[in-house]
């Protein structure tokens, strides 16, 4: 009897708590967004722009804003700034927008921006070497940045997500994937975890009225779950839907697909500290053994374009400007033979001195097509006698940092700032060069690019640099991606952007 009573009480409690959840949501406009682009694995969990790639999340989900932004042609436009002027090669004067407030209530002025940028170059891994900031002067709404050397791309870099302006007096609340900040954007984060962000509208947004009251950003690591969640209506919009699932939404009036070409690129780094990878013939053979066309047209369902180098066709220094090897299994086999790798024991794989030609292929699952590329390359490389062992792990950053790979395939936005320098300073000679590729000429040219002011000169250097790393077979590039946002058709004001980082903005509306 007593047991029955307890059971009844418990059941009642469960029902009441269930009801209380469904009572809310009256006239409020809410939007639930599912994305595969937010996770610790991607290095962008949390909202602290001064930590790794978390600035991307601050910018993507409408919490942070930068001084400058990119338009659809990837040209720089003022955002929190209204104007800028290079006083001389190493001095740039920036005028800030009046009337902007942080969500903490503080007014954004040159002093606040100075504090933010000073902390950025103090703690961030890429920003200091990008911007070469010496010191900053703040006076009212005028910010003057002095650099240690000419830094023509500084305006572009200020538009990089790490340049999201936050209130340093409010500081960073919480750590890593839980970090919350006070930005100037249309939304304020109420709760931040590595898997979910709860946002509410910023009533005092400087850019006008924000239309949606509550936004929830949910991280998905599984593509099928993301697709199913969109179909059932658990979420109203997605980013990073797997390409082969687009067919389910294409042509369906209940959904809107918005996609656009970006500089996001699947690319591979060779590990120069691995003995077999030091042989250039092997590196070249690997690139020649990958059928990029087939991968893009069938496995990517045409939503990716074969890449020759870091930048897509839309850039003057893009694919067309450089030359690299194409898919040629026979040629690849010959190269391996030149280096003494030949199948002598008839197991289908090349060998030398009794050693089988085996390479470790490191990649990670949240970019859903990367494991498929690995499995596809496994088959095409087998044709030329290379045994590919795939290590597809969420813990890829540890493996990469420890040099525990032969080939590391990841994806990056090569020109997030509309300028070629980023890719070279971050990935080729910078902290993301996990393969320890080194070429003095490349380092010197990167330095030269860093200091070149003329756009033509920068384009020429970018072309030259790409050609050099391709000639060295230091990297290989597989595909440039179309990034897509799929939403229910009643969701308006949400569009994929070529820079891949403005997603939730003040324009977002649910009808």
């Amino acid at each position: 009897m007593k047991k029955k009573f307890i059971a009844a009480v418990l059941a009642g409690a469960v029902m009441i708590s269930g009801l209380s959840v469904s009572v809310m949501a009256d006239k409020e406009k809410t939007f639930v967004y599912g994305t595969t682009g937010y996770s610790e694995e991607m290095g962008d969990a949390g909202l602290n722009p001064h930590d790794n790639y978390s600035g991307w999340s601050a910018l993507r989900y409408g919490v942070g804003e930068t001084l400058f932004k990119y338009n659809d042609n990837m040209e720089v436009e003022p955002w929190l700034a209204t104007d800028y002027e290079f006083v001389d090669d190493t001095t740039v004067k920036i005028t800030l927008r009046d009337g902007v407030k942080f969500s903490s209530g503080r007014t954004m002025d040159a002093q606040a921006v100075k504090e933010c940028l000073e902390n950025l170059v103090k703690v961030h891994d890429r920003a200091p070497s990008d911007m070469k900031i010496d010191y900053i002067d703040a006076d009212g709404l005028t910010l003057t940045i002095y650099t240690t050397e000419p830094c023509p791309a500084i305006i572009n870099y200020l538009g990089d997500p790490y340049g999201a302006i936050i209130d340093m007096e409010y500081g960073v609340q919480g750590e890593g994937g839980n970090a919350n900040v006070a930005g100037t954007g249309p939304y304020i984060a109420e709760k931040v975890t590595p898997t979910q962000i709860d946002l509410v509208k910023n009533e005092n947004y400087w850019g006008g009225d924000v239309k949606v009251d509550k936004v929830t950003v949910k991280s998905f690591s599984d593509g099928s779950a993301l697709t199913a969640a969109l179909q059932t209506g658990d979420i109203q919009g997605t980013y990073g839907l797997q390409y082969d699932n687009y067919a389910l939404f294409d042509g369906n009036p209940e959904y809107t697909i918005n996609s656009c070409a970006t500089s996001r690129c699947f690319f591979g780094q060779f590990n120069f500290e691995s003995e077999i990878m030091q042989d250039q013939n092997i590196r070249k053979a690997i690139e020649m053994g990958i059928d990029k066309e087939g991968f893009c047209s069938v496995i990517m369902e045409g939503r990716g374009l074969p890449a020759k180098a870091a930048f897509p066709d839309s850039f003057s220094y893009g694919n067309e400007a450089v030359e690299t090897v194409s898919y040629d299994p026979e040629g690849a086999k010959k190269l391996l033979e030149e280096s003494g790798w030949k199948d002598t024991d008839g197991d289908g794989y090349a060998d030398k001195d009794g050693q089988k030609l085996t390479i470790d292929w490191l990649t990670y699952p949240t970019r859903l097509e990367q494991p498929k590329l690995a499995e596809y390359a496994q088959a095409t490389l087998k044709e030329i006698g290379i045994d590919v062992v795939v290590n597809n792990t969420s813990d890829h950053m540890t493996y990469a940092a420890d040099g525990n790979f032969d080939v590391y395939v990841s994806s990056t936005t090569t020109a997030p700032t509309g300028d070629p320098e980023y890719f070279f300073t971050s990935t080729v000679v910078g902290p993301k060069n996990y393969g320890k590729y080194e070429n003095k000429e490349v380092t010197a040219l990167t330095e030269k690019l860093h200091q070149a002011f003329e756009p033509e000169e920068r384009a020429k250097l970018a072309t030259e640099l790409q050609q050099k790393i391709l000639d060295d077979d230091g990297f290989f590039f597989v595909s440039h991606l179309n990034m897509g946002i799929v939403t229910k058709s009643n969701v308006k004001g949400m569009a994929a952007h070529p820079c891949d980082y403005y997603e939730i903005t003040a324009d977002l509306d649910v009808e």
Partner: protein
Amino acid sequence: MTKKKRGSSSVYRTGTDSVKIRLIVLTVLAALLLLTALCAKYICPYDPYEQNLLLAKQPPGPEHLLGTDRYGRDMFSRILIAGTTSIFSTLILVSITTVTGTFVGIICGWRGGFVDAFLMRISDLFLAFPSLVFALAVAGVLGGGVQNAVLALAVVSWPKFARLARGLTLTQKEAPYIMAARLSGSSTPALLLRHILPNIAGPVLVTAVLDIGTMMMELAGLSFLGLGVQPPAAEWGSMINEGRSLLQIAPWMSLAPGAAIFVTVLIFNLLGDTLRDYLDPEHKKKRGK
């Protein structure tokens, strides 16, 4: 299924001969499965690992009986070749657990005392874990691969057999025929092997056969989660996972390996059931009449 009460199977039994017929039919079916798995390499119509993107995601048809996957590999060939991995690794797994478990169980039942208490506490320890969760942890630490998956499941599955064999040994230990054998001077190993083992083999064998289905599912489960067989190797569990993201677009990619598991598990479970009916003492009595 494995926990079915003894009497319940009599519902299906109409006579002693029908059990025998069922046993024969199921044994033939199981043998056919094994034979197919054994010869998969020679009978599959296409190379199960050859990718051809031009043929990707073809629905089942006369060219490709079960369609093709996203890399254009023939599903039918892959299912056949995966059968080799799935069926034989399960059989190896069940053999390992049966032999180890029975061995430990007989020793415990026979010796009693400290050895019994010690080994049984260890087995209690393993029985206390939910087996798949523990196997996940083991496979997680040791890394993926079919060998590690088999090892992981073997580690958690042997206590069942140890318990069973121990209990059966205890019932036989004091039986008059054992006394007689002892009096006639049989050594302990001879006693265990010649007298105890044959007398407890029936229930152990039935449990082992019934276990094949469960183990196959668990092995497939580990592969489904990416901890078992590694790509590109074909295995039913991992094939279901590969097709999962295309369930709405190319359902055959998951349904075909799913059906393969279903049929195989069904055959082995029915075989186990029937074997039990056949070895059932009650049933034996009837046969004797």
